[in-house]
Every structure is written in structure tokens, then in C-alpha cells.
Amino acid sequence: MKKRLHGFLTLFLALVVQLSFAQVSSVTGTVTDEDGMSVPGVNVIVKGTNTGAQTDFDGKYSVQAASGDVLVFSYVGFLTQQRVVGTNKTIDVTLAVDAAQLDEVVVTAIGISRSEKELGYNVQTVSAEEIGNKPNADIVNSLAGETSGVEIVSSSGSAGAATFITIRGSASITGNNQPLFIINGMPVASGGGSSGIGGVQTSSRSIDINPDDIATMSVLKGGAATALYGVRAANGAIIITTKTGKNLTERKMEFHSSVGFDVVSQLPELQTKFSQGQDGEWRSGGQYSYGPRISDLEYDGDTDYKWDPNGRLVPKGTGAGIPAQAYDPYEFFQTGITTNNRFNIANGNDQGSYFFSISNFDQEGIIPNDTFERTTLRLNATTKISEKITFGADMAYTSSQANQIQKGSNTSGIMLGLLRTPPTFDNSAGYEFADGTQRNYRNDTGYDNPYWVANNIAFQDDIDRLTGSVNLTADVTDWFNISYNGGVDWYTRRYTDQFKIDSKGNPTGYYAESQSYNTIFNSDLLLNFKHEFTDDFSAKLTVGNNLYSTFSKGLFGDATGLEIPDFYQLSNSSNNTTSSYESEFRTAAVFGDLSFAFKEMLFLGFTGRNDWSTTMPEQNQSAFYPSASLSFVFTQLEALRGNSFLTFGKLRASAARTANIAQPYNTSSPFVAVSGDNNVGDGWTGPNGGVNFPYQGLAGFKLSNGLGNPNLSHENQETWEVGADLRFFNNRLGLDLTYFENKNTDLLMNVPISDASGYGSVFLNAASMETTGIEISLRATPLRTEDFEWSFITNFTKIDNIVTGLAEGVDNVFLGGFVVPQVRAVVGQQYRSIFGNDWYRDDSGNVLINDDPTDNYRDGYPMADNREMVPIGNFNPDWTANITNNITFKNVSLSFLFDIKSGGMMYNGTAFAMNNLGTAKRTEHREVTYTPEGTIDFDATPAENIVVMDGVYGRVDADGNPVSTGVTNVTPVVQDEDWFRKGAGSNFSGGPSVAAMEPADWVRLRNVTLSYDFPKIVENVDNLQLYFTGRNLWIDTPYTGIDPETNLGGATNSQGMDYFNNPGTKTYLVGAKVSF
């Protein structure tokens, strides 16, 4: 590893040394606006060269130029000015606001740069300043709350945990719904991190990007924005441009270090009054916490009892006098520490530029031994081969290692062991005996002690990734240039998964090892033409070609029944399996982009792309995707020009057809090797148990469970959007509005079919979805004085993502989850409904409270309706909003981001199971005394325990149908052990999932950053900044479990499940940046 790094460094440095730079004399000055305020970030370029500089925080610049050179001062929203360098080497400039130029150059599809005003669709750009001080390893987390139309859900607070991102809702039923990531023109691998309901929370590949390398991220949201990407961008695209050395005039070095502290955020409340046991009796090794009151117990002091250092629990007065107590299981969590060191060096001139960075991110999470470490290197360099030809190369290398800890529905899940442990059992009093057996509250059965898990079970993930591309630009004439960008994104992933002998899920031990090799190749050739027909009318045309391929190959081996303890090697067992897999596909495309500009006022654009894909059947390999867009800058109309109230106004409209292709190998139904998973899944045994081949020394194959389809065609997404971009008071107030509609038809999916057909699913162009949404962004600078500035930006998003059709005869399909409940796509409902059992209800939806003393249901309680599963909620928000405030006073800046999610429900399966086990706080009011007649003895039963459940009286008739009396229930009952442990008050005793649905709204202070820029103290130090950042320091949510920004299955379409998920975190971070 070290050797390899060394090799890369040598290569990088060799390239750096190759570049040399000319020397000229310095010109300095200050740039101010018409109010006399200094303007930072103004580009100062020596005309006709690539030499230039940017103004600093005080508007000051220094640029190398000779007498007679022309300096060009340009800045977004201001009129560009030119000054000739004379004998005076100080040139101060006042820039005037330019209404027509109130926009930025944004990078759009295939790397085509466009002035924002030309765009007929909504693109939002996030800059380095907005993400640079955030403490996230995965750049996607830093996008959270920065834009409209984007939803981001972090799967947990575990180190390196995956994050799920969607733009403008979902466009696929069972396929990928996450956007395409492009870095400097190269599409890169970004997905991954979906985990199922157990196991560990692995990373998404977007975590391989060093956030400090990023200059800007453009979020391309709609079809017109992404149509040029054809089959790969139906879910939107994130276009990342890294920092470069372009336009620097002297070498610039930056050091950036930070240290962060993670603490566990919200946790479920636990009961602390009742001991381990059931029916009011203490039970050694019992699974429930329905024992006697802790205050009535003491330890017997028997040191032969190995499960507790103080002995067994006995009634007070009969033991050794050591009082029983409730332990705090949450002491398990530790303060996580993250250090992050980054360095970059860059330079550039008219002959070329380079940017080199190196970074190291090292995190230990809140769970002991939960770690993630990442090292990155990047070198971007350009050089001029001739006056007209520029050659550039980008290289990025990432190495990451993670050690991930078990979570979720898993006998080794950290939270599962922790939250099921009775309050009277102290997990921390030793997790292993001298003979290697385990100490846990179930007397070495059931679930693993979480300390045992953290120390004895390890999932180690190891990534090496190299992304490299070359680009060539030839300016053939002033109206024609050719550009080429070709590259490779290559990574290997190796992971090992080890379970020590005596883990409850793998009692004989388990070891697995996997290696995979993944490559993306991409080639883009672009021919760019432009022509000015008249001064007012011009056109640009780009035609191009794209070739793309992906290839991955993997090898997996595992072993159960380890012979030598603590020795993790595949050969350490006679019981091992191996398998391998391979996947490859290619696409090719030709495309064109034609745009017209009239009087800087009307911009009309068309794009077309034809794609061919090897994953489609031969007759349907090709598909054509067009788009059209119109931008009308109406403030360019004579009558509206120079208006100081409405400085800039633009209306835009666009429409496009984009789509998706099938994944490889869906056109036929071959045989597959038999494995435990595909042959005998019973929902009880496995995932590492089950049965695998060879069986009785025989190899095995079976018909694939999925029926292929030789008649597949491309998916179809028709989208349109309209919007307005309005800026008032010289850009002090900006409002951007967008309305969009996406209609997806012929969506490809594995349509579940009757198993009796011999297959579980058939691959079809079947489903349709409709998404409509509103995106509003408001930017304002309410206060600005010489020393003080307050600005804010707020984004609002409302998206309706409705499944309008699945396949014929199918009105819902499984996306993920348990036997009950599940996340499903249901026709007529928001995408990804949670599907489970409900209470019996009357026609008006009132819960029926049983009033029939002769049946098997308890009177005064609701009754679970297990006849069929129904939609019981949805994780999708009604709307989301975020507000970022930036307050600057002299050298001090304060930025804070509130993130609001309104609406959306989550399945709190954790709480539901804790009811059964008697560890949830809500089970504390369990004591009830009955009179001899069987009614509640109101004198003996604590008043706070008595409740009347919401609903109306009713019953279930002999045919199983609900019958309502319509009379409101007033029967007092107690939610006692019979209700929670044996009745419908929990999932394990037949309770309906609907009882575990909880609102998952939130308002959170997602980010707060306080920074201080030191005044210039040392000559060679350009800037020194100290900052403090906090993440998720405050969360307001009705959700009673962990932080509701979580998902059991990780980065997957089935969102909204919490079942002993690992908790979220709050982060406190201090950092320093210094540049020379």
C-alpha cells in the first residue's frame, strides 16, 4: 500500500515539476462597488492570456502584468471593466451592476458551459464555500439542505454509512433512483450502500470524493437539463467541477485541518422500574423485562452464578443486601473522533495550470471499533501544446478502509442487543468468559452482547480507486472547436466479514472474503460551432459522440464452522463456498445541441441524442431523446431596462424526453447456480446459514427465478417545467420559482407474478409514475454595511410522486423490508408506501374497540386485522424547506442551516419490539390489579396507568368482518404485560404494524459554522481561518426513536424503516485553514 502511494506521488511530482512559469511585475489595487463596498472574488485577467487573480476578502488584488497590458475585471452581476496598465502599478476599480449579466456561468450536460440566463430549466450550483467547512465524509451529506428538489437521507450515524439521494422524486420503481455523478466530465460510480435489513451499513461510492477538491457542484434537475446524457440521467445529475490552478498568478498552497467529535443524538427512552423476567417473576436469562419491580429486589451475592458479578436477583431481604439497580445501556456509546487533514497546491499561467491535493480523513464513530479512513490524491493539469491546442489530464486516487459494525434485524445488531437487554443486566460487566463463551442477558443464547459484537465481529471494507481522464481542446477557428474527454473510473473493493465462534447468528463462526473489480470507460467527442448572424442573433451548435462501458467482476468465498478460533482464513473450515460474478454493458450515442440567442433576451435551445445499448434486445437497441428549452429575459425589453426595482427577470420553459435502459441480462431466462438464497429461503434461517451447494458432493443449478423478456424497450420519461428567475433591488433579493411535471411510462421492472407460474417475476416495460413539484428559492441580503452583512437563502420543495400504474393485474410491488411490514410501490399512492396490517376499523376509519365479552379479543382494546396488508403510511415528506443564514461582521462569519421536513411517517419497529420485550419507557405503566369480578381495581391500580384507547365499540363477527356500534369507547384499561407482551401491543404477539407508524417530521439545525478570518499577520500567509462547525446540534421531531433521518436498508428505494437501526450523531468540529 505504502509502496503504491509512493509511486503515485513520484508520478504526480514529476508532472508538477514539468510546469514552469514566467515572471512579470506586480500590479495591485482594490475593487469596490458603487456603494463603496469592497468586492471579493472579482476575476482580474490580463487580456489575451490566462494570467490572472481574484480579489481577496477586502477587494484587493495583485496580478503580474507588464505596461501596456489590459486588465479585465469581471464579476457576476457587474459590468466588466478594462484598464490599461500604465506606469502606475496601483489600479483601483469601481464596478457597476449589470442587470443583464446577473448570472453565472454554469456547467451543464456533457460539460457544456452556459450563462445561467440562457437556461430554460432550473440548475442550482453549490460552491466550495458552502460545503468546505462541513464535517461530512460523504459529499452527498454536505448537499443536504443546500438546494431545492433534492432529498437526502443518511442511513445512520455509523462511520462511513451510505446516504441516499434523489432529485425531483423517483423515476424508477425497482431500479436506480439516484442521480448520475460526473466529475470533470467523467461519469463515475456513485451508488452502493444498500444493505438489506441486517448486516452492516456500507458506504456509497460518492464517499470516495475528497470534498475539499470540489470547486462547484451543479445540480441538474429536470429532463431538459440532463437530456444530453440520454439513458444515464433520468434521475438528474450532479456535475462536479474540481478546483484547478487556472487564473492563478502565483503558486497557492492551502492547509486545512479539522478535528470533530461525534456524540450519539436521539435515543429511545427506556423503562427503569422493572427487572428481567416475566409475569412478575425474575428469570435468569429470560428474554423479557416483565419481572418484579427493581426496587423490590436485591442480589444474592452468589459468585458461582456466572451471569452477574453480584449473583441472582432475589426479593429484598432474602439476599446479600446488594440492591438491584437499573443500568444505563447507552453508556456503550463513546465520543467519536474524526481528524481530517487536507493540503493542496496549485498554479497556472497562459501556458498551463496544475492543481494537486492530498487528504486524509480518519474517523472512529460512536460505536467502539466503528471506523472509516480515507486517503485521497488528485492532480489536475493542463498545458498548451500549441496556440490552439490545450491538453489536460485529471487523476484522482482514493484509498479507504472501513470497519463496520452490525446493525438492524440481526442477532448481532448493536441496537438489537442493547435495547432488548433488561435494565437489570449490565452488558458492560464483561462480555466474554475465560473459556471463550459469551456473557449476555440471555445466558449465551438469543442475541449477542453489543460489546462482544463491537470487539468480535468485523466487516472490513477496503477500496482502491483510480479515476483518470484526458482532455484535448483544439480551437480550429474562432467559430469551431473540437474537444475530447476520455477516461476510466476503476476501483477494486475487497471486504472481509468475520464472526467469532459463539456469535448467536453464526455459532460456529463465519468468515467471508470478497474481491471485486469495477471499471467505467467513457469517451466524449464534441464538435462546437458558433455563428453570429447579426449583432443581435447568434447560434451555437455542438455535435458529439459518446461511448460508454461498465465492467465488473467479483469473486466471493465464505466459510462456516471455523476450526481454529480467531483465525480468519477461508481454509480454516471444511465448509466453504465460492462463487463469482461478472457484468458488462456498453452504450453508444450521437448527440447534438443547437441554441439560438436573440438580443441577449431570447434564448432557444434544442438537444437530441440517440442512444444504443447492449442491454436491450437487438431490435430495440436504439432510442432517441429530444429536448427543447426557451429562456426569455424580459427585463431586456426596452420598457423594462434599467429598472431599479426589478433588476433582472427571466421566464423559462422546457420540455424533454429522457429515459433509462434495462440492466444487463434481462432478455433471457437462463439457469443459475443454486444457493441458499435462491432455492430455499424460509425467512428464518440464514443469511449465512441456509443451505449451499455443493450438497452431498453434488453441484446444483436451477432455472432462474426471474423470467427474461426478449421484447424489452427503453423506458420513457416525458418532462416539462416552467419557471421564473426574478431579482430585485440590484440583486439584493432574488426569487426563483419552478413548476415541473415528469411522466414516466414503460418503466422497466421485475414485475412480481404468481409463483405458481414457475417464476417469481418477469422483466417488463410495465409501470408508470407521475411526479409534479414546485421548487422555490429565495435569496436576500437584507442588511449590508461596510462591516456587517446578513444574507440568507431559503429553498422550498414540494413533490408529489405518484405511482400511476404497475403491470396488468398488479397493483403493488415489494421494494424492501420484512414479511410484515414492507415498503411497496402501490398504484394510486405516493411512491414507496409502507405496507402492513391495520387495526379493525369501521367504514369511517375509526378503530374498533372490542366490546364482545364472549370472543377471544380482550374487551376495551383494539383488534389486529390480519386479513391482508394495506398501505399504512409513507416516508415521503409533504414538503421540505431549508434556510441558510450567513452573517458576517468584519472578519467573523456565522452561517447556520435549518432543515425542515414536514410530513412523512416511519415504521418504528424498534419501539414496537421493545414493547414486547418490556424495555420501552411506555411499558412502565404496566401494573394493574383486578377485582375478583375481573374489572380494574381502581383503588389498587396506579391512576396514571389507566387509559382509554381511542376508537368506537365494535367486534369481529363469525365471518371475520368488523361490526361497529359507532359508540365512542370509554372502557378504562391498562396497557399491561398481557397487552404489550402477549397482545396486540407489539409486533411479536400479533400487533398490527400500523401501531408502530410514527410521524417523522423534523426541524433540525443541520449545520452551524462560526469562522474567523485572521487579519494579515505574516507576510507570506494569504489567509488564516479558524472555524467551529456543529452538525445536527438541535433536532425537533415527534419521532420517539433515534434520529428519524435513518434507513434500515441504507441507500435503497425502500425508505422509512427503522428496526434497531444504529443511531445518528451530533458533531462538534473545529478546523483551521491557512493559505500561502
Binding site: N545, A673, D682, V691, K702, D755, K982
Partner: protein, 466 residues
């Protein structure tokens, strides 16, 4: 000047068209359709590689957790003591719970057996022997599945490849006819005169056609008897005719083996979940007679005793299942010689003009075979004391068959058919009777709604139980 520009444009157009032509030809090679052939999945495999997966699935699924564990809780061989098993003990079993067993039965067992039947007819590699084996397995699977669910799809099923994605259901009566017909055909095939491809990949009988033939007759006998409430005397005479040619000893038993690398499903369940214990009804029955099979069927509890959990009492301290059904290498029992002798005993006892002495002999042979199979020893003394010479009745036959059939689906079928043994309702029962069938799976309501019978209560009776 103008001319110059024109030439420039013309040459540019030429360059561009050349470029596009070369690109498009390059694209033809780039977009290679053969890339879409899955390198990991063969388009075809020989029969000997398909058979083991279907056999393993049959043992794991039909006699594993989702079928046997649940219905043996209901027959009180087991008791569910926590989580979903405790729910099942109170007779809650929802459509969602049976999805796994249903899908494995159709897609892993029946579909692959149907592929075998078709492949066995291929010209040049005809194999009536292979077909016979697949047919016996088909009949076994259909029998267990219909006895649990009632009406199920078969004659229109397994046609996904031909476009029939929503198969109609056959009545249980039709399924029974199918079972008998398939087995008749299987017997012919297994004894065919010409056969090109020999049986391979057979984990059950290692290609022994005579044992497969006996298994075919034995399964026939099982299901002829099962129709006793419907066809009366025919059930007994047909069953007896089949018994004649069925298993001749324990060595013929129809078992799906498990091994240390591929462990018995109930063992895996106990290891990973542990949510069941022995039922008190069953344990008490064995204790009553000091039955030598008890220590094989049940494990000792923490105090060294054999204790069952009373139905619905969730007594997690009761005895766990023992080594007979829940060791790593315990076989899944598809059918035994002992069961065949019980069938013979019942048929001889119940048929009009039956011979009670022969019934008595078959009953005694049955119990002896059972004790030998379970304990590995003859235990003649115990048999003489408790079984031999004690006048046989239907109740005693079914009681012993109930003991013999531990960890199989047969006691549940016999209980519904005969009402023996007498079982009390579990504590906390949510319905007033022991369920008489499994519900159809949720997936059938979701994806085959027009065909799945709408009557789906646990208390509905299957055809032979009506």
C-alpha cells in the same frame, strides 16, 4: 473570400462526414449484442445438475420451518414460546407468513421438476428413469402442499415461459387425481425397457429405481387413505393395493439427507431463533408410556427432565427438540415404512370385511419400525409391554402414527381427517378451533387475484376434510 469560405465549409463537411461514418462503423462493433449473454448463467444444464437442488428444496421447504414447524405447533408436538412462533401457537398465521414456502414450492421444486420431465423426453437423451424420479417428487410435493392449502394451481401452472403468468387453480379433488396419475406414470417410467440417460445427481436413493418405485406406491397409499372420508371403502382397497408394492423395510425410507455443511432446517432454526420448545401434549403422551423415542424426539430441559410447554403457555424453559429432528444431520422425512404400515393397519381395520388380525399385525410392525428408526434399537421389551397384543383401534393407530410422524406434515393431515388425537385449544387462542388449513399467500392475492379462491380462512376445510 466567399469562395474560400465555401471551400473551407466543404472540406469541413467532408471531414465531419468521414468522422461520423467511421464512428458509426465503430459503434456497430462497440454495441455487440453478445455482451448481453450472462457469463454467469448457463442457457442449459444437464438433468443431473438440476435434480439435487430440487431434492434439497423438497427436504428443506416441505418438511422445514414454514410448513412443519407451524403445523407441528398446532398438533402440539411443539409449542411456540416467543416472537412469531408464539403468535402461531395462538393460531395466528397470516397470508404474509406463508409467502416463502409457497414461492419455494413452486419456483424451486415444482418448476425444476417440470424442467426435468420435459428434458427427459428430448430426442437422443430420452430418460424415462429420470422422468419417473421427477414425477415421484412432483407427486410428493403436490400431496403435501394440497393437504396444507387445499385447492392449488397445477394443471395450468408452471407456464410462465409460455406466457401464463396467472395460473388457474385446480380443486383438491383434481390434484388428487393428478397425484395418482402421475405416480402410475412414474411407475411405468421407472421400469421402462429403454432408457438412454441414467439417473444421476440423486441424493435420495442414489439412482435406485426399485426404491423410487416403492416410494411411488407408498405416496399413492398415503393419499388414497387420505380420501377415506370421500371415497369410503375405495380409499382402503386402493391404499392396500399400493401398500403391497410399497416400502418393505426402514431401509426403503424416503428421506432427504442433511450434512454438517448443509444443516437441517429445524436445527438451524433452533440455533438461530430458538423460538419453539416441545409441546406438553406430545411429551406427556411419551412420558405416560415411558416411550423410548422420547429422548430422541426431545432434549432434556435445564434440570435434566423432559418437559413440554403447555400449548400457548410460552414456557421457554421446556425441553427443546432433540436429535431426531433437530440435529445438524437429521434427515427430512418425506415418507417412511412405518407410515406405510400404519396406513395398512388403518385400511385393514376400517375397510368393510377387513381383517382385524392383519390390522393388528400391521400396527405392531408399524410401531416396531418406528421405534427402530427413531432409536436405532428394536426395544422389543417395551413393544411387548405397551404395543404388542393391545387390541388395535383407529384411535390407537392414529395416536401411534402421531408419535411416529413427529416433525412431518402427516399428523396434521391425519388429525383433520380423523380427529385423533384429541387436542385441546391452546391458551390465548384467537380463533375457537385449531386451524384446518394454511391461508393462501399474500402474493397470490396481489398477483393472481382473479384465480386465488377468495375463501381464505384458517378454519375453512380442505376437500377431503369436508
Amino acid at each position: 473570400m466567399k469562395k474560400n469560405k465555401f471551400f473551407k465549409m466543404k472540406s469541413l463537411a467532408l471531414v465531419l462526414s468521414l468522422l461520423l461514418i467511421s464512428l458509426s462503423s465503430c459503434e456497430k462493433q462497440w454495441i455487440d449484442s453478445d455482451l448481453n449473454i450472462d457469463p454467469d448463467s448457463p442457457a442449459d444444464v444437464p438433468m443431473g445438475l438440476i435434480l439435487p437442488g430440487a431434492q434439497l428444496a423438497m427436504g428443506f421447504v416441505l418438511v422445514g420451518n414454514d410448513n412443519v414447524r407451524t403445523n407441528n405447533i398446532w398438533t402440539q408436538h411443539f409449542d411456540g414460546v416467543s416472537r412469531q412462533s408464539a403468535t402461531e401457537a395462538r393460531y395466528q398465521l397470516t397470508s404474509a407468513d406463508v409467502g416463502n414456502v409457497w414461492s419455494s414450492t413452486y419456483t424451486s421444486i415444482l418448476m425444476n421438476l417440470s424442467v426435468l420431465v420435459e428434458k427427459s423426453k428430448l430426442e437422443g437423451s430420452e430418460s424415462p428413469y429420470f422422468r419417473g424420479v421427477a414425477q415421484v417428487m412432483q407427486a410428493t410435493t403436490l400431496g403435501i402442499t394440497t393437504d396444507i392449502f387445499g385447492d392449488i394451481p397445477f394443471s395450468k401452472a408452471l407456464g410462465g415461459g409460455q406466457g401464463n403468468l396467472r395460473p388457474e387453480y385446480d380443486t383438491q379433488e383434481q390434484i388428487y387425481d393428478t397425484i395418482f396419475n402421475i405416480l402410475d406414470d412414474a411407475i411405468l417410467n421407472l421400469n421402462a425397457e429403454e432408457n438412454v440417460l441414467p439417473i444421476s445427481g440423486d441424493a435420495i436413493y442414489d439412482g435406485d429405481r426399485s426404491k423410487w418405485t416403492k416410494a411411488a406406491y407408498s405416496i399413492q397409499a398415503r393419499h388414497y387413505l387420505q380420501t377415506s372420508n370421500k371415497t369410503g371403502n375405495d380409499a382402503y382397497t386402493n391404499a392396500l393395493a399400493a401398500v403391497e408394492k410399497g416400502f418393505a423395510s426402514n431401509a426403503d425410507d424416503y428421506l432427504v439427507p442433511f450434512e454438517d455443511e448443509n444443516r437441517n432446517p429445524i436445527f438451524q432454526f433452533m440455533e438461530q431463533r430458538g423460538d419453539i420448545r416441545m409441546g406438553s401434549t406430545f411429551v406427556d403422551l411419551l412420558l405416560e408410556n415411558d416411550d423410548p423415542r422420547l429422548s430422541f424426539y426431545a432434549a432434556e430441559d435445564g434440570d435434566g427432565n423432559y418437559v413440554g410447554s403447555e400449548p400457548g403457555s410460552e414456557n421457554a424453559l421446556a425441553s427443546a427438540p432433540g436429535t431426531y429432528a433437530a440435529s445438524p444431520t437429521s434427515s427430512s422425512v418425506m415418507m417412511t415404512f412405518a407410515e406405510l404400515k400404519f396406513i395398512e393397519a388403518e385400511a385393514r381395520l376400517m375397510m368393510s370385511g377387513g381383517d382385524i388380525a392383519l390390522a393388528q399385525a400391521a400396527y405392531e410392525d408399524a410401531v416396531a419400525a418406528s421405534v427402530l428408526r427413531v432409536t436405532g434399537e428394536a426395544n422389543t421389551e417395551w413393544l411387548d409391554e405397551n404395543i404388542n397384543g393391545v387390541a388395535v383401534t383407529l384411535a390407537s393407530i392414529i395416536k401411534q402414527k402421531y408419535i411416529d410422524g413427529f416433525a412431518t406434515n402427516q399428523p396434521y393431515a391425519d388429525y383433520r381427517r380423523t380427529g385423533f388425537p384429541n387436542l385441546e385449544l391452546a391458551a390465548g387462542a384467537v380463533i375457537p378451533q385449531i386451524p384446518t388449513r394454511f391461508p393462501y399467500p399474500q402474493s397470490e392475492f396481489d398477483y393472481n387475484n382473479e384465480n386465488v379462491p377468495s375463501a381464505n380462512k384458517l378454519t375453512d376445510k380442505v376437500w377431503w376434510d369436508q
